[in-house]
C-alpha cells in the first residue's frame, strides 16, 4: 500500500472539488442547488452516453429512450400504481437492461451511421407511443405524467438539500462504477473494438456480445438518471424521450471530451450552467449565442475540453507562467 500522503498528493484536486460540492448547500440557495441537481443528473446521462460513443465507438441517436423510459417507469409506478420507491428501483434497472438487450440484438447487425439511424427510429417509436392519445389513461398522452408523488423525506422542494446529496452521491457512485468498467479487462476489449473492430474479432473477441453488454450497462445508467430526473421534476413528459435529449448527451460528451470520464461531467456543467445564464442574459435568443460558443469550443478544443487539455495541457500558458516565475527567481537572487 502506498502511504496516505502520496495518495493525497495525487488526488487532492479531486478531493477539494468533492469537499466543495459537499459543503455547497451551506452557501448556495435553493435555486442553485436545484441547478446543481440537474447538472448531476445530466452528467450521469452524458457519462452513460460516453461509455458507448467514447469508449466503444458506438454512435447512438436514440439514447433518450433509456433516459425517458427510466422517467416513465418512475411516473407510471409511483403515480399510476402507487408503488413504494424501493420497489421501483429494480424495475428501472430491469427496464434499462431489457431495452439495451433488445436494441443491441436487433440493431447491432448494422454498424456506424446505419446503427445510429435505427436507434433513432427506435427512440422515435417510443416517443410517439408516449405521446399517443390512445395511451392517455396511462401515460397522460402528450402532456405526460405530472405530480408524481415523491416520499416526503426526499421531496425535491421541501427537502432540497437531501435531494442534492442523493444526486451528488448518485453521480459519484456512477462515476466510479464507470471508471471501474472502463479500466477492467472488458473495458480494454471495448476500446480495442472502438479502435479496430475487425481485428478485435480475429484475435478472438466476440464483438457482438461485448457491444450488447456495453449497451445494456449504458442503458441502465441512463435509465437511472432518467428516473432521478422524474423524481426531481415530479413529472415524466414525452420531452424526456425526444431526440433533443439525445443531442444534449451528444453535446455534453463532445464538449467535455469523449473517451474521458470527467469530460462528460464537465460537459454537463457547461451546458446546464451556461444555458441557465445565457437564457438570463439573452432571453429566448440564447440558443443562437450558445451555438456560437459551441462552434468556438469545437474549434479550440477539437477533442473536447478534457481531451484537448490532456493532449496539450495549455502549453502556452504553462510556459508563460514558467518564464514569469523564472524571471521572478532571477530578480530575487
Amino acid at each position: 500500500m502506498q502511504p496516505l500522503s502520496s495518495w493525497l498528493k495525487a488526488r487532492w484536486p479531486w478531493l477539494a472539488v468533492l469537499a466543495c460540492l459537499t459543503l455547497a448547500p451551506a452557501f448556495l440557495n435553493k435555486f442553485y442547488l436545484g441547478l446543481m441537481v440537474q447538472v448531476f443528473i445530466l452528467a450521469v446521462f452524458a457519462l452513460s452516453y460516453d461509455l458507448l460513443m467514447g469508449y466503444s465507438g458506438i454512435l447512438s441517436f436514440g439514447h433518450a429512450m433509456f433516459f425517458g423510459s427510466g422517467a416513465y417507469v418512475v411516473g407510471l409506478l409511483l403515480k399510476g400504481a402507487a408503488w413504494p420507491l424501493y420497489a421501483v428501483l429494480p424495475v428501472i434497472i430491469a427496464t434499462g437492461a431489457l431495452m439495451g438487450v433488445l436494441v443491441g440484438i436487433v440493431t447491432l447487425r448494422v454498424r456506424g451511421v446505419y446503427f445510429a439511424m435505427i436507434t433513432l427510429a427506435f427512440a422515435e417509436v417510443i416517443y410517439i407511443l408516449s405521446a399517443s392519445s390512445q395511451l392517455r389513461p396511462w401515460t397522460g398522452g402528450d402532456e405526460g405524467l405530472h405530480g408524481i408523488p415523491v416520499p416526503a423525506w426526499m421531496s425535491p422542494t421541501a427537502e432540497r438539500v437531501t435531494f442534492y446529496y442523493i444526486s451528488l452521491s448518485f453521480l459519484v457512485l456512477m462515476y466510479f462504477l464507470a471508471r471501474r468498467i472502463v479500466n477492467s479487462p472488458t473495458g480494454r476489449v471495448l476500446i480495442a473494438i472502438r479502435e479496430n473492430e475487425a481485428r478485435a474479432a480475429t484475435i478472438g473477441y466476440n464483438v457482438f456480445w461485448y457491444k450488447v453488454l456495453i449497451i445494456v450497462i449504458s442503458g441502465v445508467l441512463a435509465a437511472l438518471a432518467g428516473g432521478l430526473n422524474a423524481l426531481y421534476f415530479r413529472n415524466a413528459t414525452p420531452e424526456v424521450l425526444g431526440v433533443g435529449r439525445t443531442i444534449d448527451a451528444l453535446l455534453m460528451t463532445i464538449i467535455g471530451g469523449m473517451g474521458t470520464l470527467i469530460g462528460p461531467v464537465l460537459g454537463a456543467v457547461v451546458i446546464r450552467v451556461l444555458g441557465n445564464y445565457l437564457a438570463d442574459w439573452f432571453g429566448p435568443r440564447w440558443p443562437l449565442v450558445f451555438g456560437l460558443i459551441f462552434v468556438a469550443l469545437v474549434m479550440f478544443f477539437p477533442w473536447g475540453i478534457v481531451g484537448t487539455l490532456r493532449q496539450r495541457p495549455l502549453r502556452g500558458l504553462a510556459q508563460w507562467i514558467k518564464r514569469l516565475s523564472r524571471g521572478a527567481g532571477q530578480k530575487a537572487s
Binding site: S184, P185, T186, T202, G204
Partner: protein, 262 residues
C-alpha cells in the same frame, strides 16, 4: 515431418458478384510444415486467407481444421481453435500502445475478459506474456510507443506479435514483408525463423518475394485466377512449366526466378 493434416479445404469457392475470386481450391496442409501460397496479383491468395480465417463466408466448399468442419464458424471462434492470422495491410489498434496491442491479444486467451469490476492491471500474466512476445519480435523497448507512430517495418513486426499472442497452432501470414524496404526484410525473416524453430507451429505464407518463398517453404501451392495450378517442393515448382507460363503471361515477371532455385 508429421503426416497429420491440420487444415484441409475441399473445393473452396468465393464469388463476388460475377467475379470468381477463389474457384474451387482443394489444399491439404500438413502439421508442422511451412506451406506457401504464391501466384500473380489477383490470383485469390488473400481472399483464400480471408476464407480460412473467417473474415469472409465462402460461397461453396468446406474447410476442415484438425478434422472438424469449420466452414460456418465466425472469425473469433476460429481464433480460439488455433487459427491465427496476420494481414497484408497492417491491421493493428492504432491509438493504443504497442504493449496494449499485444496484451489485448494475450488477454483474449484467458478467462478474465468479462471481469467487469476488476482492474485490468491486476492480471499481470497477460502483460508478461506480451513482453515476452515483444522480445521475440524485436519490439522490446518500444512497448510504450503508440502503435500508429511506429515505422512501417515495426508495424509489420507488431502485426506478427499480435498474432503470436493468441498462441495459434496455424499461422496465416499474409505478405509479412509487404511494403518493406530491402533492409527491413531480414528482421521479419528472423522472426519467422524463430517461430519455425520454436517447433509445433504450422505456417501458411503468402509472399511475393521469391527468395523468401524459396528459403522458407516446405511446400508451395501456386494459384492463378482463383485456382491451384501446381503444388510441390520449391525445387519442383521452380521447374514447373505451367507456373512459369502463369507468371510470364501475367502481370509479374520475376527476374532472378531461376537464380533462387535451391
Amino acid at each position: 515431418m508429421d503426416n497429420t493434416i491440420i487444415l484441409e479445404t475441399n473445393r473452396l469457392r468465393k464469388d463476388f458478384g460475377g467475379l470468381v475470386a477463389v474457384a474451387g481450391v482443394s489444399v491439404k496442409v500438413r502439421q508442422g510444415t511451412s506451406h506457401s501460397i504464391i501466384g500473380p496479383n489477383g490470383a485469390g491468395k488473400t481472399t483464400f486467407f480471408n476464407l480460412l480465417s473467417g473474415v469472409f463466408k465462402p460461397t461453396g466448399g468446406t474447410i476442415y481444421f484438425k478434422g472438424h468442419d469449420i466452414t460456418a464458424l465466425p472469425a473469433y471462434q476460429r481464433s480460439h481453435l488455433g487459427i491465427g492470422r496476420s494481414f497484408q495491410i497492417t491491421n493493428i489498434f492504432p491509438n493504443l500502445t504497442v504493449l496494449e496491442n499485444v496484451r489485448l491479444a494475450a488477454q483474449s486467451r484467458g478467462r478474465d475478459n468479462f471481469k467487469l469490476l476488476s482492474d485490468f492491471r491486476a492480471f499481470g500474466r497477460y502483460q508478461e506474456r506480451a513482453l515476452e512476445i515483444l522480445e521475440l519480435v524485436g519490439l522490446r523497448g518500444k512497448e510504450l510507443t503508440v502503435a500508429h507512430a511506429l515505422p512501417h517495418g515495426d508495424k509489420r513486426k507488431l502485426e506478427i506479435g499480435i498474432l503470436l499472442a493468441t498462441e495459434p497452432e496455424l499461422l496465416l501470414l499474409d505478405e509479412p514483408t509487404a511494403g518493406m524496404s530491402q533492409e527491413e526484410v531480414p528482421g521479419i525473416m528472423e522472426v519467422i525463423g524463430k517461430i519455425k524453430a520454436s517447433g509445433g507451429k504450422t505456417i501458411m505464407l503468402v509472399e511475393h518475394k521469391m527468395e523468401i518463398i524459396m528459403r522458407a517453404s516446405d511446400v508451395i501451392t501456386v494459384m492463378h485466377l482463383g485456382s491451384v495450378i501446381a503444388e510441390g517442393t520449391p525445387a519442383q515448382i521452380a521447374n514447373d512449366e505451367a507456373v512459369q507460363a502463369a507468371y510470364l503471361g501475367g502481370t509479374h515477371t520475376y527476374r532472378g526466378w531461376r537464380a533462387h532455385q535451391p
